[in-house]
């Protein structure tokens, strides 16, 4: 308890979760997760610059394993698997992150409003969330994508839409006990506005579980978008996209496994990475393994 901790008061309110990330980083699982995510995000960002070929460049007969200049062979369309892999991370990362962010934003807003207001607004919002959950998610995705076509914004919208109720539930669950706490009452007694109470008093105190859930949702979003790609719904025909690559090259799995295996492994490592991070965060938030930082 040293008294010489100097924190600029102007900045302290902006620090959402002092130390949460740092504490989580003490866990090996978080470190591995961060390493995996950094690796794959790195591939996605740097990949296009170091790829030997363009994503749609013809390098040789389709589905060959031994092609000169293409060390992992060609894909279903005579393109270099390695180059397409290097190009293919951006789209899925972008779509998944944006979709999760949007879902996170609305889900958290709905959850916080429901938790803070309780009563009828709470009931109505949560009932509505239940109905969204009851609606077959896959059906929605397939129908929308079939009708409108596999547009980026639509994939984002669908994934975000199905993320909202889940985030909302978690947020509400985490916020209800916070609403009961006296500092919310103190803020009310001072006559703080609802918006300020929700954003400044409530939100910073549910960031822990929210962060965990958002990370978990990110993991699922990556899985869903990859799955949609697998079912043939990628944003663009022949786009370099890990999910789509799996679908495009799956029929050639036994002939030219790299086209499928490389992006599949990338997706798996990415989701494992985000999964490990959310697990690390969850353990830190819940303090489950506080006594065993090396677990």
């Amino acid at each position: 308890m040293s008294t010489d901790i100097t924190i600029d008061p102007a900045h302290t309110t902006a620090v959402a979760q002092p130390g949460l990330l740092r504490s989580a980083m003490k866990l090996w699982r978080t470190r591995i997760g961060v390493a995996l995510v950094v690796l794959l995000v790195g591939v996605a960002i740097v990949g296009p610059w170091v790829a030997p070929y363009g994503p749609a460049e013809f390098v040789g007969t389709a589905n060959l394993r031994n092609v000169e200049g293409a060390w992992l062979g060609t894909d279903y369309f005579g393109q270099d698997v390695w180059s397409r892999f290097l190009h293919g991370g951006r789209s899925i990362l972008f779509l998944a992150s944006v979709a999760t962010l949007i879902g996170f934003f609305f889900g958290a807003a709905i959850g916080l409003v429901a938790a803070y207001n309780r009563g009828r607004i709470d009931d109505a919002l949560m009932r509505f969330m239940d109905i969204i959950l009851a609606f077959p998610q896959l059906l929605l995705a397939l129908v929308a994508l079939t009708t409108v076509g596999p547009q980026s914004w639509l994939i984002i919208a669908i994934v975000a839409f199905t993320t909202i109720p889940r985030i909302a539930r978690i947020t509400r669950g985490a916020a209800v006990p916070v609403v009961e706490r006296d500092f919310i009452g103190a803020a009310e007694a001072l006559g703080e506005s609802r918006l300020r109470i929700i954003t400044r008093e409530l939100l910073p105190n549910v960031t822990g579980p929210l962060l965990v859930e958002a990370n978990l949702r990110l993991t699922y979003s990556i899985g869903i978008i990859a799955g949609l790609g697998f079912l043939g719904f990628a944003t663009e025909r022949n786009a370099a996209d890990w999910g789509l690559m799996v679908q495009e090259n799956r029929v050639a799995l036994s002939v030219q496994p790299w086209g499928t295996v490389l992006p599949a492994v990338a997706i798996a490592l990415l989701t494992i990475g985000t999964g490990l991070i959310s697990d690390g965060l969850a353990r830190t938030v819940a303090g489950i393994d506080r006594g065993r930082p090396d677990a």
């Binding site: 308890m1 008294t3 010489d4 901790i5 100097t6 924190i7 008061p9 302290t12 309110t13 620090v15 959402a16 979760q17 002092p18 706490r181 006296d182 500092f183 009452g185 103190a186 803020a187 009310e188 007694a189 001072l190 006559g191 703080e192 506005s193 008093e201 910073p204 105190n205 006594g291």
Partner: protein
Amino acid sequence: MSERHETLAIRNLRLDVAQSGNDIVDEVTLTIARGEMLGLVGESGSGKTTVGLAVLGHARKGVGIHSGSVSIEGTDVLAAHGKDLRRARGRLVSYVPQDPGTALNPALRIGGQVLEVLQTHGFGADNAARKQRVQEVFSEVLLPATPSFLRRYPHQLSGGQQQRVGLAMAFAARPAVIVLDEPTTGLDVSTQAHVLETVRALASKHGVAALYVTHDLAVVATLADRVAVMYAGRIVEQGTTAEIFANPAHPYTRYLVAAAPEMGSDRELVGLAGRAPSPGRRPVGCAFALRCEVATAECHAAFPEVTNVGTTDSHDVRCFHAFTVPERTSRRAAAGVAAAAGNDAALSLRGVDAAYTGLSVVHDVSFDISRGECVALVGESGSGKSTLSRSIGGLHREWTGEILLDGAPLARSSRDRPVQQRLSIQYVFQNPYSSLHPRRSIADSIGRPLAIAGVDKRETGREVDRMLERVSLSASYGSRFPDQLSGGERQRVAIARALVSKPQVLICDEVTSALDVLVQATIIELLVDLQRDLGLAMLFVTHNLPLVRSIAQRVAVMADGKIVELGTAADTLTNPQEEYTRRLLADTPAIPEFPANPELPIDTLG
């Protein structure tokens, strides 16, 4: 006292934090005879519960039993493992938990939970006999022994009933030793009184050796035969209850007694700043030396050995300066509770009714609080006192009637009140652990009302520093976060926040109920000072009757949503007019007068 029959004997018990090896409890030696009750007293964190659990051979996660022995009827519990240990638990020694609400399994019927103790230990000849015993023990703890009651689940019982089930569970297999871990915390005074009565009756009837762990001196004083005082993991003093209260030998014990509020007098409560060192930070010498007025160099150099200072009975103390009276504890002055400054009503309630989700909980309440006056609002839980105070603060919106601030009516919700009104009524909450935004610095929290009032940043910063000084915290606290503060410090911050906007009315809602007694005393001291200096009109809401006279001029007793009695604190508490008040007073445990032993060499400093 070796000739007496020691049912429980704890010798040199030491428990460590498993990881660091720092001791939580050390050098604890206690004995309890058959039919005897020992009160183990200490502030939170002193290690008293740890000792209680160690008696059952149990340590919480992360804590390990390092050394020592716990012997019950000749069986060494700490040496027992597996089956033997299980056989000892519940049969030889049983445990009554602090919070029966969480300690009873919500998924199992209460009858079954008691019965399984008997089944596990093969108590009685057969199941019929065991069921017979369950009914019997339910009757013993004054619960209905009907089959339908036995089939109830914990949540279908009141708090008092739940604790009785806890008692039934503990007494069921007729153990030799019972550990009671603050079993009445959280219960209303009347319920507490009844539970304590039952405990006393059962313990003496069955001749068990009881270890009663508590922080409440009044309870110990009325219940225990002997008392042991713990500080920072060590027993610093033990002796008969009469000895301990009449002639406390250790300065710490003296502070504890001095800090305990008394219904019968309006003496000033004496608090003590600082807190006990945590495990691993203990000094070489006496752990209390840092806070001790009478400490000398030798106190810092070594921890004194156990010395028997008893004249007629055993009375052990670990202090180089036994019986030296710290100056502050001897003040015993009347609290500075001034008379009300005239009839200038700062806050007036006129026919206030309040409801909670449609259910009427406050009926037709009217009273005034004058400038510079403190009115205590007392009542048991559910009496409506909190709803009333929250209505005044604008936190509860379901009320009708009139609440006037300086003659001007207040809107129902704080949000509808003008800024000036909002800032003029300030609220201090019960739980300092939940009333501060955990992710906001102390300075920001305190400065927030000023920001709302439109005060500029520089001025706010100055004002915050001034307020911190005023509540006896240094300005350096401004940059800290709540989790770096102790409970008492937090409550000071909460008070600073409430007072920074220079309010006329301060509502204190059970502000000390989450604090240890020494800290409670310091907060009360602070509030009395502030109220007097600032001429605040104060509403002090509490369930703790003895506290009232140390702070309030008048007291309003609330029951079932109505004010049943309103009068000056002295009159009401010494000469209650209403039956309800009388009963309440009767149920409130108080430290009886123990005649001091004049033969003891009492030194007074200064």
